[in-house]
Symmetry: C2
Subunit: 226 residues, 2 copies
């Protein structure tokens, strides 16, 4: 039996998606009121990091202040939270994050990815042979690009061992509620959801309306039938 | 007919709730890909501002970098977005935000409040005589403290003139989707919701499961019957 996780790290990079981070963080910040917890924010440098999409010339964004760099991280991270966002497509800018995930993964109790954050974990090689899910709009492209991962199309979120992954953006809250349920108990997860006035619908992760919206997952259905 | 809003300001203060801001911001950042928009982040000083709850000694929080101070704001704000959070209870720390809301309100096209952000607008006097809603866990306390506001208990979100207000935390996304629907059209709102894999259920704002959860709104029901 592991001791309860005490130290959570959030990775950020230019063009990370704000809600991918702050949906989960709001749950974890609320958890910290009653359970001992530290949250560090790691980036390549200590310069405030923007959520601005690098793919849209007119995009707006906001600046988050990191607490640590990848080269001077906290030594006792139990959980790593990896958000997605259009910035994940910049391979050079996200290379330090990918290296960090590769280095720290063997010492983690849990890795949690949101949306296209899964591609950073896939590039680090830590999803190879594992079941995982990701953003549904980008699902075909991502599953083709990282074929060593057993991508699950129809899932709001997926657990494989100590790796928890979720579908696009808003699904990050569902995977973290699922994780809080597993680690801290259902009553804690329900209390936090109620406090955030969040309708926590996707409790087992297998329901996924957006697989249908984006027309992915039919192949899995065919395989199940045959 | 007003010109379309071009400049949105977000107010932050110590102990603001991250999701109150980044739920709406993710919608607005996505809107900026296709519609001209500027988003400024205003605070009392330019020091990074924490989401850490001031009421919980063990609370974790993250730091957001403001772009402007209340004493040097952009002069052309069309929309002001006011998040809530436990920091709203610190009357001294939020006094500059309240003064700013009072000063800028006459020049705004829209004011949007999330959760207990409505209490800052109420303290500024700009909700007097208007219909508005707020966090449901704190609803009785808030409605008693600000009796000049026509508080609506059973609403995910409420529109009165140019003031849009929402219920607790997660409801901030619904009020902003409703606002995008009204100002930019349903197709734009639906495209953004789909991109965020967000199930946009509360489209007319009148449904509210959390009024029932927290046992508020029965009085309104009695009044309607009589």
């Amino acid at each position: 039996m592991n001791p309860p996780p005490l130290h959570i790290g959030l990775i950020i990079f230019p063009g990370f998606q704000g809600l991918d981070a702050f949906g989960p963080l709001d749950i974890l910040n609320t958890l910290s009121w009653t359970h001992p917890l530290t949250i560090s924010v790691l980036a390549d440098t200590l310069t405030p990091t923007s959520t601005k999409s690098p793919l849209h010339p007119t995009a707006t964004g906001q600046l988050i202040q990191p607490t640590h760099t990848f080269s001077s991280p906290p030594t006792d991270l139990d959980v790593l939270l990896v958000p997605g966002g259009l910035g994940t497509r910049d391979l050079a800018a996200t290379a330090p994050a990918v290296s960090f995930i590769r280095d720290v993964f063997p010492r983690l109790q849990y890795l949690i990815t949101v949306c296209t954050g899964a591609t950073l974990a896939a590039r680090a090689g830590v999803l190879d042979g594992r079941r995982a899910t990701t953003n549904k709009m980008a699902f075909r492209e991502i599953s083709a690009a990282y074929p060593a991962v057993q991508w699950v199309a129809r899932a709001r979120w997926v657990v494989d061992g100590n790796v928890w992954s979720s579908s696009g953006v808003s699904a990050g809250m569902d995977v973290v509620f699922g994780w809080v349920d597993r680690v801290y108990g259902l009553a804690v997860a329900e209390r936090i959801a109620k406090g955030l006035e969040y309708e926590w619908v996707y409790r087992d992760g297998r329901e996924d309306p957006f697989a249908v919206v984006y027309g992915v997952g039919e192949e899995e259905e065919e395989e199940e039938k045959s």
